[in-house]
Amino acid sequence: MTETAHEPVTTLATPIRLDFDFTPGVAQSRFLKGLAKATFMGQRCSVCGKVYVPSRGSCPTDGVPTTDDVELPNTGVVTTYCVVNVPFAGQSIEIPYICAQILLDGANISFMGLLQEIPTDQIRMGMRVEAVWVDEAELTPSLSSVRYFRPTGEPDAEYDTYKEYL
């Protein structure tokens, strides 16, 4: 009963497009607006004293609001890293490149950043780095304001000083 002149249908395209108004909330807005001024704004937990950057508004271990703003310097340490060699959708950087966990000086948590101005085989855990910002006219409330991080040339940090933040 199913004779047909057509090739049987085996796949169905169902495109889905939904539009949202996104807000990152109070605390992250503060961090993002800091980026637009080429600064890293963190927040300190009033219970444990740890500095979060970026902060999402709560201390993840204490579950209390973080309200104490802390401006952090542009410098920090590479705690660990990987070299990305795989092309994937949405990628805008030429491979291979270094994706590093960066612990800003004075922060208690690292975040992922792009590392440049160093060959991929010379990167080390513990390397001192600094943020390179985009031109002032291009600064926006987004991590895109950080062009990348680069080595400062200072001596590497001792493993013991950052081993808790890998």
């Binding site: 271990t61 890293y81 795989v86 493993y159 808790e164």
Partner: protein, 384 residues
């Protein structure tokens, strides 16, 4: 007040990069019907259904229990949908087991799946959101730095990851349901595969699969099936925050606590000796030595030595991932349940070519997110 609970039926699909022969409902039914057959039951015998999967964006089908209820025999019954990221297949099994242990139901069908080829895993796991960092690393890029940290801490030599990649693919050759069947897998082949996220090579990473897993769980007075039951001796879930100051992502506290909890429930004091087999969520090869330490199979820093010694190989004293593991099949939402299901098969003696002789007590583990969600269970051939 707690009832005993046992696995009395298991089923899974043939896992593939794209199951282009089947609908989403067809995929989950392939696993569920196999589990019912194994338990020698019909849809009508089931009291409740618990379903799990990872983000709904994989299939673009929101809260899919709503659509899938009639495909899984849930009409007129309770149905629950669990989502705990990559650990979800394990958590789903545990939620189902609680329905038995609490006395609420006698026979529960639990199913987990992912039809990730309907979209794209890389997209669905990290949908670009406003203000987020530009996509820097992709999936493996999140885990590779932690692998590097493990290597630094333990002093493990480079070839350990390759050994795991080979071992798990060799095990998969024994498992007809596995996605990858790489007959000629070798250390050289892994080493020659593309370096994706240094230090992680292509063949040290899991595939992206379509697939489903299902189990029938039953109370003590409702046992049936082709094989003896696998009794649940212990089960636990643990979560810790995704990012916090001082978080140890190589050896997460949540994993250690979760293991301690299930071991205490099951009376396990020396996991390497007490377990006959373990099926552990290893999506990247280096997670075997890392989880060996996290799960207490050896001292801190010695995980790689256990792998290197062959202890975790199929013929070793504590075989890990006899099914071929996540490295050989990875339908994300189902991957955790496949771990739990494999150990149930082992202690029921139904694992065929990948059966460990005389397996009596086994550990299944799943983890998810950025290693912050854990679920584990211990099953045995003897009543607890």
């Amino acid at each position: 007040m707690s009832e005993r609970c046992a696995v009395i039926g298991v089923g899974q699909t043939h896992h593939k990069a794209k199951r282009d022969d089947i609908s989403i409902a067809g995929l989950v039914r392939e696993a569920a019907k196999a589990a019912l057959e194994d338990a020698e039951l019909t849809w009508a015998d089931i009291d409740a259904v618990v379903i799990g999967k990872a983000p709904d964006m994989f299939e673009g089908n929101m809260m899919p229990e709503i659509y899938l209820a009639p495909a899984l025999g849930a009409v007129g019954k309770p149905m629950i949908r669990v989502h705990t990221a990559g650990s979800v297949g394990g958590s789903t099994s545990i939620v189902a087991a609680h329905l038995i242990r609490s006395g609420a139901h006698k026979r529960v069908l639990t199913v987990a799946y992912e039809k990730q080829s309907d979209s794209d895993a890389m997209w669905a796991l990290s949908v670009p959101q406003p203000f987020a960092a530009p996509l820097l690393a992709g999936a493996g890029g999140y885990f590779a730095p932690h692998i590097r940290a493990y290597m630094r801490r333990s002093g493990a030599p480079d070839h350990i990851g390759r050994m795991v990649a080979v071992k798990d693919r060799q095990n998969a050759m024994r498992n007809p349901y596995a996605h990858l069947h790489l007959a000629d897998i070798s250390m050289e082949m892994v080493e020659e595969s593309m370096m994706l996220w240094d230090p992680l090579r292509y063949l040290e990473a899991c595939p992206s699969s379509d697939g489903a897993a299902a189990m029938v769980l039953a109370a003590e007075d409702s046992i049936s099936g082709r094989y003896p039951p696998a009794w649940v001796h212990g089960m636990a879930m643990r979560s810790e925050p995704t990012m916090f100051a001082g978080r140890d992502q190589v050896n997460p506290q949540a994993g250690r606590d979760c293991a301690a909890d299930v071991y205490a429930q099951a009376g396990v004091t020396d996991p390497r000796k007490d377990f006959d087999v373990a099926e552990v969520y290893v999506p990247f090869s280096w997670y075997e030595p890392m989880w060996l330490e996290n799960l207490g199979f050896c001292d801190l820093g010695d995980g790689w030595k256990l792998t290197e010694s062959g202890a975790t190989a199929f013929d070793g004293d504590i075989p890990w991932n006899t099914s071929g593991g996540v490295l050989s099949s990875n339908p994300i939402g189902a991957s955790g349940m496949l771990r739990f299901l494999e150990v149930a098969m082992q202690v029921r003696g139904q694992a065929g070519e990948h059966q460990v002789d005389g397996a009596r007590l086994a550990l299944g583990q799943a983890y998810g997110g950025g290693s912050q969600f854990f679920s584990m269970w211990v099953v045995g051939s003897e009543k607890p």
